[in-house]
Amino acid sequence: MIHADKAGGGAPYVLAIASGKGGTGKTLVATNAAVLAAATGLRVVLADCDVEAPNDHLFLRCVTESASPVAVPVAEVDPSACSACGRCRDVCAYGAVRILGASAIVFDELCKGCGLCVDVCPEHAVLEAPRRVGEVVSGPVEGRPGLSLVTGRLDVGQVKSPSIIRSVRAAAAALAGDLVVLDAPPGVACSAVAAVRGSDLLLLVTEPTVFGLHDLELSLRLGRDLDLPMAVVLNREGTGEADIEGLCRSWGVPIVARIPFDRRIAQVYARGDLVADELPELAQVLPELLEVLPGISRRGVMSL
C-alpha cells in the first residue's frame, strides 16, 4: 500500500469506519477517533455517511455553515410526444419504465437516472429532471478546533442513499483536511459500498458475538472485493465467545484496538458525551489506533 503521497500534504487520508452488523460501535469509534485526531493538531473532517439515521451530530455540536440539497436525475416522459413504442421500457435495466395506455410512464423510485431511455427515444419524449432526495449539512464543530462535521440526510420516503453518500464524501474532501473519518452505514449493501469505496483504510468495528463474527466476515469480503487495506476494532471485548481473533488471523487482518465491555462507556454514550472526554484512560486505545495510519501518524508528529 502506498501512503507516501498522503503524508506529503496532498489529498486527505480517508479512514472509513464500517461494520457488517449494526450497533457494534461505528459511531463510538468514529466520533472519538475524530476528536482525538483533531486534538493532536490535525485538520479533521468527520463525515456521517449513515444517511438513513445520521447521529454523529448528537455527540458534536456543529455550527451549520452550509446546507445543500442533493438531487438525482429522474426520467420524465412527455405523453403528448410519446408514441408508446416501448424502446425506453426495453432498455431499462431496473423495470422503471412501463407502457400503460398510450404512453410510457416512469416510476420514480425504481429509476436510477442512467439516462439510457433518454438516449433511445426516437420521439425525444423522455427528459431528465432533478428530484430532491436529501441534503448535506456541514460546518465546524463547536469547541473542537480543527474538527468539522459533514452530515448527509436522506429524505423520508426516499431510497437513493448512495447519491447522498457520494455528496457527503465530496463535501468532506472539499474541506481539505488532513484526515477524513467516514462513519459508514451498517451492512454491506450499496450504501456501505458507496461510503467505503476508495478509502485508505477500512476499519471494521465488531463485537465477539455470533452475529458480530458472521457479519465481520461479510465486511472482510466486501473490503477484499473493493481492494481496501483493512484493520479491525474489537468492541465490547468480553461480552461473547465468538472467535474474532481466529477469523482475523485467517484473513491476515490486524486487530488494532480493543474496547472493553464496560458499563461506563454505555453510560457516557447514552448521555451523548464522548469517551475521549469522560473516560480518557479507556480512550487511550484510539490514539494507538491512529498509529496504524502511516500518513497520519507521520503528519501528526510533524504538526506537534
Partner: protein, 134 residues
C-alpha cells in the same frame, strides 16, 4: 398478440377483465397476489373467451413485479382487474392505465367474473407494500 375476446380495433372492443389466478383455467382460484401471481387470465366477461398469460417473468422479478403485471394486462386491453391485493406501485400503474381493481379473494376465476358481472365484488384500495424495501 392473439385476442380471443376482441371484437374490433382498439377502442371499440368489448370490456375485458384480467384475473390473477393460481392456474391457467377458469376453474382455478384467484391468486391473491397480483404482481407475483402464477397466471394472469384475460377474460371476456360475456363470452368467457380467455387468454392465459404465464406470469413467470414478473413473478421472478427482483422488484417492480406489480408494474410488470399492470403493463401486461393493460397491453391486453383489460379495463378491470380481479385479484386479492394491490401494492402501491401496482395500484398507481393501474390507475394511470384507467383500470379498476376488485377483490376476488377466495373465489374461482369463473365465480369471480360472475360476481363482477352482478356488481358483487368490492373495489380494492391501495394496499401495503409487500417488499418493505426497494
Amino acid at each position: 398478440m392473439s385476442s380471443p375476446g376482441g371484437t374490433g380495433p382498439r377502442g371499440t372492443r368489448s370490456a375485458r377483465v384480467a384475473v390473477s389466478a393460481l392456474g391457467a383455467s377458469l376453474d382455478d382460484r384467484v391468486d391473491e397476489r397480483f404482481g407475483r401471481a402464477a397466471f394472469l387470465l384475460v377474460v371476456d366477461p360475456e363470452t368467457l373467451a380467455m387468454e392465459s398469460v404465464d406470469n413467470t417473468a414478473n413473478r421472478d422479478a427482483l422488484q417492480g413485479a406489480g408494474l410488470g403485471a399492470a403493463e401486461t394486462v393493460s397491453a391486453r386491453g383489460a379495463t378491470a382487474v380481479i385479484t386479492g391485493h394491490l401494492g402501491p406501485k401496482a395500484f398507481q400503474a393501474l390507475r394511470v392505465a384507467g383500470i379498476d381493481g376488485f377483490d376476488g379473494t377466495g373465489k374461482t376465476v369463473r365465480q369471480a367474473i360472475a360476481a363482477l358481472n352482478d356488481g358483487r365484488l368490492e373495489p380494492l384500495a391501495e394496499g401495503e407494500s409487500h417488499t418493505g424495501l426497494t
